[in-house]
Symmetry: C2
Subunit: 534 residues, 2 copies
């Protein structure tokens, strides 16, 4: 496909009247063609107005068309073929195998949400039938369902050009909820965004939906993002990126005449706690797995482990030594952008020069530009609890091994950390009594607890939580991965004493959408129903 | 019971080191004894620290003890007997019958939440079992549950001294979620708050819970409220009151180092739409029912109808005349406070002097202090759409009848109104085609749609939504009445590959809490389970 270099508003290419921007190949620092024209804030309003216009029809779509739409997007993304992987690789430096995996995840989650739309439990149907003879007062028939919030602004993430971008998790869950999406492309991968943008637009057209259901907009980073969040047509925001940018969007959303929810997934150190029992096994394998989790995708995952707590003493020393050996064999991989590589350098320099921090091991720089040598540092728990620099996320292939003396040390360190996406525990049966008290502390700090595994590789399923207390996310009550993500874009409405003729279909007695319904508080299965798994 | 006049922090009376305040009998403007000592912000920290200390044990309580606790509160409130009704009547001017109904609602919702706790669906258990042989990568066992957010600050409402106060809906749902509560009493009914506070404290003691599970605090209105919301131990806020106060709390919560959710239920005009068909029936009865809804509890309900849209023409004229006759028979009832009565006067004066507004009818002043004559005004739809003064809530027994010419008028007016708790439609079968297009518009504006009924008398059930878009509430995704209210105080956590020994009980294979569980996305009922209705 010939890339146009323009926004795609309600199905039509729109030439931005602002400046232009190019993608860059971070492996070479060379600009990629075409240049992308950037919208003005005035032009942006066309997209949000179209989304508002599309809302009434899209929000009341029948489940089958709605699900077919999500599946068509997935099909269309696959139909792009290798061009998508090639372009994404050029724009991000990510290897083809990783991007192929990410594409499968992206289409997989679109199909999963199609299944969710067919199954329909997210519609939250509750019926409290009338009790006309109740005393002292009769009870009216009251029915409840969840309806979509309205048009959603989604921001592309630099580190997942497919799965957290144009048709990624935020877009998929918002569309599944029935919300039109205005998608702000990340300027680091404009071509990848355009390719997927056409895939979505084609699905909108083929299914005969209102064209305003989806727009892809390019604009000057922060300013157009703020304008988008401030736009009165927008009713919720999905964002994955830095803490500074996320907090700026939260402030804009809270200051609107009508405040709206912002779902920002921002930063996480993803601490790993290694217990004594786990060090009686294959310490080299444990060290290698840790280093793989730290260095995979050049460490640019939301869930890359930035901290590993290992006990003091001989076994811990062995682990640290094995980590040093493992990281020494790693070559640097191209980072997403020159700016991200520069931030990584600043961050590791600050960590290296912090009191009590030493280098455990270091790899070699990669052969390309922006491919710094992965580095793992070490320190004692007393430095971690007293120096805030050691709590700063370094986005990229760096991590800090913290040596602890006692369970009390671990409990204190866990209580000290800010909100995180994940915490991982490596242990064996003998460690259960030691580890057990840590779990309720970690529940207050993280969205996901993992045993004998690594936080990277976020499964897209029904039970996943990719979220956590602030500042990991802006809203700990949600997840941005997995089927529960749809709940972010819904709100309940009750209908009291409505005649069948005026009730929305999902609430009618005949249950034409075959929904499971909560009647008097208890779930009553539909006689015929779809299954939730894709 | 002899009232102490002091706060009740973690089970112990605490003498406030600030000034004192008295309740006032609004029927006589006389001060009520005792004086209540107000806490300083420093003293307040004792309560939030105790709530934080109580959280680990309270949040992991077994369902039976947890439910018994809620039931014990209900029993203890009933055990206070007539003293509660008498004191609440003195402090609020509300009639005994209304307060008896409110007490029944308060104890009823505590028992309903006890049933919810026993049934356990709010725990949101989701299990995606491991798939070890999945390719290309195996799937780990992942389980999810909802856990409580942490200590919750609840603010008492002036207009519901029982059902939205000390042990009201916010407190009941927060406690049911497993969140300790620090309750800030409304200074308009301190004695009522203390009576119920002792009832809660006794239940805490009798069940052997950590005393920090509940504290009742008195303080200087706005300042201590802000301090409470800003306190780092507090993780969510429940509030019912004015828009100005609610928005101030929202701002404080958003500006914290760790922002927290505020559930503020603020203001609502509760528009009523009358269609032609409804005017072919008993117009006098319709008018009388409207006037009852407007004047009941002196119009001081969140759901009192402030607007009624009636068609122009003869039938509408008849309705307006009947409304005028009905309101003329009404005597004013004592309002909650002298300040609220003064605001009502200011509000009705502004409405009366607005262009195009005339008086339809007026009652007589009550025999007591602060009992102004109910008043109903009239205007044309063109004035409503052009003058913002006509969109201001007047808290008290006043309402505005708006005459419309066409369905188009109604659609435009509905699109113009701000977020509301409710909208009501009065119609017959012949009006269905006219009314149908209004429903999707109203869904975007309100939390509850009612046909041939009135918004007052909010049923406490599973399907109720007492919420709505801003500024009706701070968060349209929630309800403050009904069992769904518990969701406000929960957040999901995922557990990946945890051994049974380390999994929280609700997630263990043996399902010791007999919970319905969502397995691979589909609900699987527990073999033995509790029912959700009390």
């Amino acid at each position: 496909m010939t890339l146009t270099g323009h926004s795609l508003i309600a199905g039509e290419p729109v030439v931005g009247e602002g400046k232009t921007t190019n993608g860059f190949n971070p492996a070479t620092n060379e600009a990629l063609e075409p240049a992308y024209s950037l919208l003005t804030e005035e032009q942006l309003k066309t997209a949000t107005a179209a989304a508002k216009d599309a809302f009434p029809s899209f929000s009341s779509l029948d489940p089958e068309t709605h699900a077919a739409f999500l599946e068509a997007i997935a099909d269309n993304i696959e139909a792009i073929g290798d061009e998508l992987i090639t372009r994404a690789g050029q724009e991000t430096g990510l290897p083809a195998a990783r991007l192929q995996g990410e594409r499968a995840r992206t289409t997989g989650q679109l199909r999963l949400f199609a299944a969710v739309v067919r199954q329909g439990d997210f519609r939250g149907v509750r019926i409290d039938p009338a009790i006309p003879d109740r005393t002292p007062l009769p009870r009216a028939d009251i029915r409840q369902r969840q309806i979509p919030l309205g048009p959603v602004a989604v921001f592309g993430a630099s580190n997942f050009p497919l799965a957290f971008s144009t048709a990624g998790g935020d877009t998929a869950s918002a569309l599944a909820a029935g919300c039109p999406v205005v998608f702000k492309a990340h300027n680091a991968h404009p071509g990848t965004s355009e390719l997927v943008g056409h895939a979505v637009t084609k699905a909108v057209k083929d299914l005969g939906l209102h064209p305003g259901v989806f727009s892809l907009v390019y604009g000057p980073g922060a300013s157009i993002g703020q304008a988008l969040v401030a736009d009165s047509a927008i009713k919720a925001v999905g964002f994955t990126g830095s803490q500074a940018a996320g907090i700026a969007l939260m402030k804009t959303a809270a200051a609107r005449p009508e405040p709206i929810p912002v779902y920002a997934e921002m930063s996480s150190l993803n601490p790993v706690f290694v217990f004594e029992g786990a060090l009686k096994g294959d310490v080299d394998a444990l060290a290698a797995a840790y280093v793989t989790a730290v260095t995979g995708s050049s460490g640019q995952l939301c869930t890359s482990p930035g901290l590993l707590f290992a006990p003091e003493g001989e076994a811990g020393d062995k682990l640290a030594a094995a980590v040093g050996r493992a990281v020494a064999t790693c070559a640097g991989q191209t980072m997403l952008t020159a700016g991200i590589a520069a931030s990584w350098n600043t961050g590791t320099e600050a960590l290296r020069s912090a009191e009590g921090v030493s280098l455990i091991g270091k790899g070699t720089p990669g052969a390309t530009e922006n491919a710094p040598a992965p580095a793992i540092f070490g320190t004692g728990v007393e430095h971690f609890t007293s120096n805030h620099v050691l709590h700063e996320e370094i986005f990229g292939a760096a991590s800090l091994v913290i040596r602890y003396r006692s369970t009390e040390d671990l409990l204190q360190a866990a209580a000290r950390i800010e909100g995180q996406l994940t915490a991982s525990l490596h242990l064996t049966g003998e460690d259960y009594p030691t580890a057990a008290p840590l779990i309720p502390v970690l529940e207050q700090k993280v969205g996901r607890i993992i045993v004998n595994g690594w936080p990277t590789g976020v499964e897209v399923g029904h039970a996943m939580v990719h979220g956590g207390p602030f500042p990991a996310t802006s809203d700990s009550r949600t997840t941005s991965v997995g089927t529960l993500a749809i709940n972010r874009f819904l709100r309940p409405v009750a209908y009291q004493n409505l005649p069948q003729e005026l009730l929305p279909e999902p609430l009618q007695d005949t249950n034409p959408w075959h929904l499971n319904r909560r009647i008097n508080g208890n779930v009553v299965p539909a006689e015929e129903k779809a299954e939730a798994s894709a």
